[in-house]
Symmetry: C2
Subunit: 197 residues, 2 copies
Amino acid sequence: MTSANSGATRAFDDKRERLLRAAARCFNEKGYSGTSLKDVAIQLGLTDAAIYYYIAGKQELVYQCYMRAADIGQRTLDQAIAEGGSGFHVARRYLELHVAAHCGNEGPIAIMSEIPSLAPEHREEILTRSRTHSRNFEAVLHHGIDDGSIVDCDVRMTGNAIMGAVNWIPKWFHGDPAVAEDAVRTFPDYLMRGLKP
Amino acid sequence: MTSANSGATRAFDDKRERLLRAAARCFNEKGYSGTSLKDVAIQLGLTDAAIYYYIAGKQELVYQCYMRAADIGQRTLDQAIAEGGSGFHVARRYLELHVAAHCGNEGPIAIMSEIPSLAPEHREEILTRSRTHSRNFEAVLHHGIDDGSIVDCDVRMTGNAIMGAVNWIPKWFHGDPAVAEDAVRTFPDYLMRGLKP
DNA sequence: CACTAATTTTAATCCGGATTAAAATTTTCG
DNA sequence: CGAAAATTTTAATCCGGATTAAAATTAGTG
């Protein structure tokens, strides 16, 4: 079976998922150029060449990591929106979920630092998803302003600030559960405090 | 004259500074592995090999970019502290200065995404400076809490959030002056709002 | 057990971009 | 102008890590 095969077995998918997490951890901690496929492979008790059984190459690996990151961001925002409530409440819930995803059992989420080195199609796809996510979050802020739950503010810039704070998490969070608790408790609180009318 | 020579002329220093900015722009926009020395050289109308007249190599170039970033962070914080006032006021002033540095005429400031790929001595130096800067900012927040100008909060986490928001700026700011204005106006406001008692 | 598919390894190859050396050009300044 | 220093280029070399191919091992299945 080739790695592009969609009829993958359960064990295959599991290992592929573990591969993506290991890669995300490496990329976040050692940088893209700083991590060789060997580094990633070692974490799974494999040889570098074995990775090619699961993925087409290093670029593809980055792409998959970014897709996974995009999935998580989208899912947390969608869930927060689905749960309903005021704009403020939705934004806060999203932050809770997303910070928890970063610090919790979702394992490391890749920082999108190497989008430009992706293949053109992949690059466009990731960029589009990334922008869409930002626009969706900004829409939540807009709703909050309209329903009076969020102070009138520059939505684009405020969104940039919040996204930056969250996206930066992997830079200082390295798995310590005590720190995870602090983050989950503090981040949504602090970031939303500045949005109260 | 060798690039390690300290008795450098004015023109040499100027060009070296331009080199660092060009490199920071490339690294921020195309990632470390995504930018070749040729990319950087082209921005200065030079050939890739010419870069070695100003810098020992790619690692050294990254190191210098990071040192420059550290300098700017330190300088803005020092200035804010020197100007005095409550903890809240100092923190706010620091944010104004630092955001302005990111978006203004200081040119692009490198995001420290590739610290692990530095040479060990350089890596340690950058890490130390980076940690020191964080601790210094946290100290400002502590002062604010003590003097009653800042709400009681988890200083470490709040600092992480603020630093993340600021450090992420180069991800979305690409030189548009109108955007720069928005950022300078919005960022300190929003980020400090959450700290009011 | 024997046979086939799945998984991993070993052992090359390959290649882009960093680096170097020497030559050429430009600048400085008497 | 002309010599020495400064700057840049041209033309290799060099190398680490990605990638590939084929062989070996392991797991599943009748």
